[in-house]
Symmetry: C2
Subunit: 324 residues, 2 copies
């Protein structure tokens, strides 16, 4: 039973069968899509089960595309992928490219004959096309959603940020600032909705890079305001680490003078002074789910029956920087 | 002009020519070795120039073997290799394997067709044999020395540690403890010689893992002594970060109650509280030198004329934790 049989039964090209089953990269008209799925059901076609069973174990290696590993969060994520892959008998090849294009990394990794790829960088439609052309299955990781045709396993950043800011409000804070990318993303919306939900005005937003230096500069900006916030939500551990240094140097006690909560919860956040209360990402679960998807452990389920995006819940780790 | 010509002129097998030119992996009797080198000189044979010119650029990729990238030092090292390789038009493939054997990582990376490999893990003779069998040139990095046949580019850990402890003595400290692996390695010897050089007794040594948790436990041990040291040298940034947390929790002011100097000088050491005075490793220079070696940029020089080990100097970054 081949893709050609399905195409013939549905009266479409084999490419249209692929687009339908992979949810992309090109769109398929709803009526055509229904015809293809009907043919798949009638014929009992299990595309990925076959293809993946052939691939799985043929090289014994999976690949990971990541921008940088000097950021401790991504270093930890990379090590987690290696451990989880090893537990499944697979070795890991990592392709870092902070400066280069994602699609180049995908093409080069695919040429190294891996069974599948995890991609921990934001992807666009061009990148999805590179995945489709490579013939190597790929799963987007650490992102809330990706382009059509690429399943993703991410984290509920909105819910995590909202819960963290609600926690600061429970500690009595009425002015809670945000250090973030300033792009109105999930974390910023969670922060804004927590304040709005408590009837509080949005605190100041400082747009900065997701780095220690960014967090450091952001706090200096906040402290220069006529009426600085009494608490701040940092969109990454790295920003929070930089924020703490700026607060220490400015002799603002933490949490007494300014409370801080970070997003990420990497190992480094437990060893700052004071230790950071943080929204912890479920890194191990995220990696395990992504590998399940990648290796087709759900191979008895049609791709179209799986959600294209899976969002995992975060956990608030209460340490000292929030006032607990 | 081939290796066979050299072998014939010297009256040895081609294997012996390889062992001589690569300084291993097997030993060659001094007299035989001289005969081979005489033949090489007479015939003007340039072995690696040819082999490397053939390889260089044929895949456009170099490999890196590293144990783990969640340690910020190795994360930063990995990113530096990627940047330096990219500047030479080469992409980087990383093979992490914290649990596995180095020789497995070497074999798997070599099978992925890379132009050469940097290896940032301690190597033994078996690993050197794996390199020789793979046919892919390799350079050991971040280690003071390696097995015969594998050139290495490392850092003068002894000199760096000695200078750091001398600096603590200049600040008036007479009891300087050591947090290290307790294996009498280069850093421990530098620490001991600095104290001996000033006529001071060796302070307490706490043997711990090179981790934040290790540094944390070590300081609790030091503080429990009847007469704790007034300063401590931590053998890694990670240990120093853990040490700072233990000192803060014990309400021992830094540097007033205990001064701290760390070895590594990764980016994280600048953002602790107080910022860490640290022995900085010349990471970029180390990576550039290792890539020069790997890619045969010294191809007009015979391998036997190059030192098999290159040690680069460190720099003492003076921040606040030492008392400066």
């Amino acid at each position: 039973m081949t893709r050609a049989d399905v195409a013939s039964a549905a009266g479409v090209s084999t490419a249209v069968v692929s687009y339908t089953l992979n949810n992309g990269p090109k769109n398929v008209a709803p009526a055509t899509r229904e015809r293809v799925l009907e043919a798949v059901r009638t014929l009992g076609y299990r595309p990925n089960a076959t293809a993946r069973a052939l691939r799985l174990g043929s090289t014994g290696q999976v690949g990971l595309v990541v921008a940088t590993v000097s950021n401790p969060y991504f270093g930890q994520l990379t090590d987690q992928v290696e451990r989880s892959a090893a537990a499944r008998g697979l070795a890991l090849l990592v392709r870092t490219n902070s400066g280069g294009l994602v699609r180049e990394a995908i093409e080069q990794l695919a040429a190294r004959q891996v069974d599948g790829m995890l991609i921990a960088r934001p992807m666009d439609a061009n990148d999805a096309a590179a995945v489709a052309e490579s013939g190597v299955p790929a799963v987007l990781i650490n992102e809330a959603s990706g382009p059509a045709g690429v399943p993703s396993v991410g984290v509920d950043r909105y819910g995590g940020a909202r819960r963290a800011v609600e926690h600061l409000i429970e500690h009595g804070h009425h002015r809670v600032g945000l250090i973030g990318a300033g792009d109105g993303g999930h974390r910023q919306r969670g922060w804004a909705d927590a304040l709005a939900g408590a009837g509080l005005p949005p605190g100041p937003v400082v747009a900065e890079t997701y780095s220690r230096e960014g967090g450091y500069r952001a706090v200096l900006q906040l402290l220069a305001l006529p009426d600085p916030p009494t608490a701040v939500f940092a969109s990454s551990d790295e920003q929070a680490v930089g924020a703490l240094l700026a607060l220490h140097e400015s002799e603002v006690p933490v949490p007494g003078g300014m409370a801080v909560i970070a997003f990420d919860g990497s190992a480094a956040s437990a060893f700052t002074w004071p230790p950071l209360t943080a929204v912890a990402q479920p890194m191990e679960m995220m990696v395990e789910r992504a590998l399940d998807r990648l290796l087709g452990l759900e191979q008895n389920v049609l791709p179209t029956e799986l959600p294209s995006t899976e969002l995992l819940p975060t956990e608030l780790l209460r340490r000292r920087s929030c006032g607990c």
